[in-house]
Symmetry: C2
Subunit: 199 residues, 2 copies
């Protein structure tokens, strides 16, 4: 005997989400049946709305309802700095610190030869065009993740942009605040010695 | 800065699902934005449909589109046996074996004093009424989970139903098929000795 069609379809939809297998999908589907009708309706509406009402900012690639996005159109922000991140989530994490007041550029990916992802597959061309058009931009801060792919992308961007006379910098790597030195991995320790700051 | 409203709402909806925290919800929401429009629409529709088109069978508590459910209305099934399970998922697991051809009764829960769940909170009254009305039912097989709460519920049902002259049995506990004796826990081993079968 199969599950009734409505729940079978819902299970099928849940399994399309990343990291959710058939067992979890079944659990979620049964949970959904017991949820308040209002919550289910909101859920369905927000799915549709997230797909329909959101677009990527044509300047920086941020996720937004209005194009260009609120950051690109904010004249009070420092127009001379562009922080390059891999994903919109990274932009949000940096914004939530309330300490960076410049502009952003979202690559929507990272250079990854193993995954077959080259410079043309991520938002690099639009960054170059942006830098050519906008003479106010003096510095590009590369905020890709501190892993092999993020470093490779940072290196690529640095080689691409420096000849054009743009200052390229990289977010600092070192000990996480609150961490113990004896638990830190070796490479982090080496980086933290190399990048030591004057007191 | 906050996420744009459509995605913030979607993150909020995802966090309402069990076992999904804010980090996973954010990941799922961003994934949703990049999904095919068709898949998102299907997802939203199946959410609504699962909530709207499904009900619980008024006889056995199974999840169904038509009340009473396909199992309760199937005259070819053995009308003399009722297998009592905790959840619809358990019913489906048993049905998928294609070996049990009697009826079911879904408790939608289990006796759990710690969780404040007593006999009135689960589908026991409807089972008693059903047994009183239907004289064809001769045996009740208790198929609650083989843990403390499942055992307690089985014991409760046995004491409740036996005085009414109904045969009450319990699914066998013992070694899982394919398992190694030296990896089995002690209680399972004791149960498998106690419940040994003649060869």
């Amino acid at each position: 005997m199969q599950y009734p069609e409505p729940i079978a379809k819902l299970i099928d939809s849940y399994t399309k989400l990343p990291g959710i297998g058939i067992k979890t999908a079944t659990r979620l589907a049964f949970y959904t049946v017991n949820m308040a009708e209002e919550d289910v309706t909101h859920f369905a509406q927000s799915l549709i709305s997230a797909k329909r009402d959101l677009k990527f900012c044509s300047i920086c690639g941020n996720l937004t309802e209005e194009d260009p996005c609120a950051i690109c159109t904010d004249d009070t922000r420092n127009q001379g700095t562009v922080l390059v991140v891999e994903e919109v989530k990274d932009l949000m994490a940096l914004e939530n610190t309330n300490e960076y007041h410049g502009l952003y550029h979202v690559l929507h990916g990272v250079l990854s030869p193993l995954a077959g992802q080259g410079p043309d597959d991520i938002n690099i061309e639009s960054l170059v065009t942006r830098l050519q058009k906008n003479e106010k931009i003096e510095e590009v801060i590369v905020g890709t993740n501190a892993n092999a792919e993020g470093e490779a992308t940072a290196m690529y961007l640095s080689r691409l942009l420096k000849p054009a006379g743009i200052r390229v910098s990289r977010l600092a790597t070192g000990l996480s605040v609150g961490s113990d030195i004896d638990y830190a991995d070796e490479i982090t320790l080496i980086k933290s010695v190399e990048g030591r700051t004057q007191m």
